[in-house]
Symmetry: C2
Subunit: 568 residues, 2 copies
């Protein structure tokens, strides 16, 4: 009923003028506006927006037919394949919640996640079927609440057919069969309330149990649009999936691509060669990647690259602070690097180092240093500040006072699933606490100095591991570097550098000399108490999303035992 009053604020909502915000409409629109435009390409698989819309409606219908809907969780264990993209629409179209699972996790962690979210159905790429099987076994053994989820397996013509046959023999439904069981004209409904949950993603949980970050339709809608606007991504963008979609729903770009009626290029294996090849073949305009992937691109051998780039390619990098040297090297190769920063809890990136035309004329290293900062808030995040966590007062914008990054606004998660304690901590004082330590520069741009837990405290002085890493990355022989605290007899802690060298730099004979050279190099770049007392060579352990696992390095450094007094 429409009720009218005389007051200008007295006009109520009605069916015609209010509906829940949800990114699901983007897909319906893409199918209407550009039905024949390619939506998704993956090897020989090729879909149009109309097909994707039909497939996603089948997906939702197939779930609904199995009584899966509101408040149910559907898990997906897969790399960047079409089924994972379709899950971003098909699952919420049925009213259910999408839980993307990191494929690099081990079976017992996956068992924990499936049990924690009570997954009603699990979609698994054939390559990861045994992993899922093992996880289910652990879950069934460990928990009385275990109820076997429906299993759907996704076949891939490029993978070993044995794995698929095995899955089918175990009663899994083949994904295409699963879709066929649904109605392509399924009358999906948007959520009644835009606060309804759309996705669940677990943080890596290096120290405690993984925490389940719950996101809602409203936030997903707003971040999808915001992510396009701040990055200058336009209608028809061609987007390469290097960033795993299971990582914060691909920073919401899964949904953005539908809003832009763009084209998704899937990539099962992320290598420098595959990235360059896709850029040339599909005229890729945009991709997202963690700094380690940029590192791979920068250090690719000439035969893996296609340079100069045939056109400008925009790269959004986040997930760790990118060392300025990598930004410079990417720029030299013709990539336009946009640096963003965020967390699973903020739908992916929620700050951007917004580029200023006046920076163009600066020297390359100065430019890269400015661009290595985390920057300013996304449009969809209404408040961002760096505060003293004791007083909750903003730190001065002096580029040196360290505080915690806190956020507030529509791009902040609903909360952690079934974790009142973590929610209380995360939302203390009406702000979301990122756990990241940063400074605010005079121009208002923030710059991360460390994760709270990564800071090195040496003789009561805070040392930023990020700053030391930045210096290490500018060393000509170093490909990757990570610095953590090592116990120190005199200082309590001191910096320990783990370093991967560029190919061909090291043979076993010159290890010691190189370590000395690196130490000397550091001495020229930083206060002496920052200089790593230990330099360890070798590959760095990484998460599925390319984040260096500092927790493992910390353990390693601990096992090395404390730096002895004598060493001073």
């Amino acid at each position: 009923m429409v009720v009218d009053g005389g007051d200008i604020d007295d006009l109520p909502k009605n069916d015609a003028n209010h509906t829940a915000l949800t990114p699901l409409w983007f897909l319906e629109r893409a199918a209407q506006v550009h039905p024949t435009r390619p939506s998704l390409l993956h090897g020989s698989q090729r879909y149009t927006w109309q097909q994707t819309y039909h497939r996603c409606r089948r997906f939702a219908s197939a779930l609904s037919n199995r009584s899966i809907g509101l408040s149910h969780t559907v898990a997906v264990i897969a790399p960047n394949i079409p089924a994972l993209y379709e899950a971003h629409f098909g699952i919420p179209m049925a009213g259910a919640v999408l839980n993307t699972i990191n494929i690099r996790l081990n079976a017992s962690t996956i068992a924990f996640l499936l049990g924690h979210s009570l997954a009603a159905l699990v979609i698994v790429d054939q390559e990861y079927f045994s992993l899922a099987e093992e996880a289910l076994k652990i879950w069934s053994q460990k928990s009385k609440s275990f109820k076997p989820p429906i299993l759907v397996v996704v076949g891939d013509e490029n993978c070993d057919p044995k794995a698929l046959r095995h899955a089918l023999s175990k009663g899994a439904i083949e994904y295409e069969k699963f879709l066929e069981s649904g109605d392509p004209e399924y009358a999906w409904k948007p959520p009644e309330d835009e606060w309804q949950s759309i996705a669940l993603g677990y943080t890596s949980g290096t120290t405690s149990s993984p925490k389940g970050v719950v996101l809602h339709h409203r936030g997903a809608y707003l971040m999808s649009l915001s992510g396009a606007l701040v990055w200058g991504m336009n209608e028809g963008a061609v987007y390469l999936w290097t960033l795993p979609m299971f990582h914060c729903n691909g920073w919401c770009y899964t949904w953005t691509l539908a809003a832009l009626c763009g084209t998704n290029i899937c990539l099962r294996q992320v290598t420098a060669k595959a990235i360059y090849a896709a850029i040339a073949k599909y005229k890729v305009t945009h991709f997202c990647a963690a700094p380690v992937v940029l590192n791979t691109i920068v250090n690719a051998s000439p035969k893996e690259t296609i340079l100069p780039l045939p056109h400008v390619v925009h790269v959004n990098t986040a997930g760790a602070a990118p060392p300025p040297s990598i930004i410079s090297a990417m720029s030299e190769r013709g990539f336009r690097v946009t640096h963003t920063y965020g967390l699973s809890e903020t739908y992916g990136p929620s700050t951007i180092c917004a580029w200023k035309p006046e920076w163009e004329s600066l020297p390359a290293d100065k430019k890269a240093n400015l661009n290595a900062r985390q920057g300013v808030r996304y449009i969809a995040l209404e408040h961002l500040d760096v505060v003293d966590t004791e007083t909750m007062k903003p730190v001065p914008a002096d580029g040196s006072t360290v505080g915690e990054i806190v956020m507030r606004g529509n791009a902040v998660m609903k909360g952690y699933l079934k974790n009142p304690k973590a929610n209380k901590e995360a939302f203390a004082n009406g702000w979301f606490h990122s756990g990241d330590l940063a400074v605010k520069h005079p121009d208002g741009y923030i710059e991360i100095k460390d994760r709270s837990k990564d800071i090195i405290i040496s003789g009561a002085e805070n040392i930023s591991s990020v700053e030391i890493e930045k210096a290490l990355y500018s060393h000509p022989a170093i490909m990757e570097a990570s610095v953590v605290a090592r116990p120190d007899e005199k200082w309590g802690e001191s910096p320990c550098a783990f370093v991967t060298l560029k190919p061909g730099v090291l043979d076993s004979s010159n290890e010691k000399q190189l370590a000395e050279d690196i130490t000397k190099f550091c001495r020229s770049k930083m206060p002496s108490y920052w200089v790593p007392k230990s330099v360890v060579f070798g590959a760095l352990p990484k998460t599925a999303t390319g984040k260096i696992q500092k927790n493992l390095l910390r353990e390693k450094a601990k096992k090395m035992g404390p730096v002895k007094l004598s060493k001073l």
Copy 2:
């Protein structure tokens, strides 16, 4: 208090993860990210985003100091000057509602508007002060509820100083003084609820009293972002204000420009020469204009133009269906024309003729015909259809069945102010009724055939005045054309064409011959019963926003008396 449950939809809103959507944050962000970038240029006036933010906060504070806030209306009577732009932020920052008033209205209509909205304060450009004065006089005489609003006058160095002196002598506060009375650090607050009203705009009301369209913060936020995305408008856009801001808040681009940290170029007088000059001087990237303005650009004399254009300029045209011939002519001059369609009730444009790459290779006239269609829904408008108003069923997508355009979603107004009857009609059956008649093409794009009231009914056959106008615009001698119904003794009604010729075409001696030539031309282009039986030469009456006033032409046609039987 944060309450946590076990259900995935059971995580409540809190201060950290939910805030009202409002475009006001865009300004705060622009001032933070690009404080020194020009926000607004107007003659010798030049503001940066930081200055604009400070001025708008002063504006809000000055209102608040005068006890103007929630549920109050503040009216602005001004052309495209900085004060009108600032009003889009300053007024809602105080919690009040912005009512922009069309400067071409007469005093008695303005008196009606001010009385209807009970304007608490009126900001008026010095050029329109006498008009406002007269309106206030009429209001005070006609209504017992009259309470004299506070008057603020905006001076302009390029206008006659006498008008300003006069205003000040009448007790009006000078705008800059008004701002100075406010605090540049005023702690404005976003609305408690995003459904709160942000703006009020009156429809032209050609047949009845003007209706007050009330818009909310949520819709303004969503349309601002949507308008940038569908048009491919990126960060830092340079936008020329040809479209009056008083027309649907400049189709929400007032707020979009802040979201994009772009630059606004104000233009008091819209002429072809001024447009070309601004494009060259300020590197304008985008502007909006009604088709009549495009007509002016296309028909500008060589000395008024700067061609070829120094760079690509994007033009968004709406307000009336643009004849394909004008789209073609604009394209030839290097403008990239995007055709949109909407109403005050939908925050300005809510459909776009989304361009398809496959159209590029078509002949120019075919391209222009495709682009002359109204197209598909904006991202922020969730539903759009063409329906049979009896059954509310969608018409077939056959390009010929005419129905009414109906809309539903977040880009639809709250309602008309104090007008329950109009609201009931507008929102009948859970849809907003546009009153525009259209067909749906097989590709899903809609095309307007007429306003309900503009359709000509001749011998029980519907004739689309828009189709006849399209043909007339392709005649080499015609600059502007408008077709209305004229009473007809035999057919009830028949088409009557009002035509403005290109400069130099007509002397009084060849009027009759030219009319015959035009009739012949039409006969080659349309069914014989569509051919205008009367062709009248002369200037066409227009509204302030460049819309041809068909109501006046209809009156004129009526006064001409019915077409006699003998004429057949």
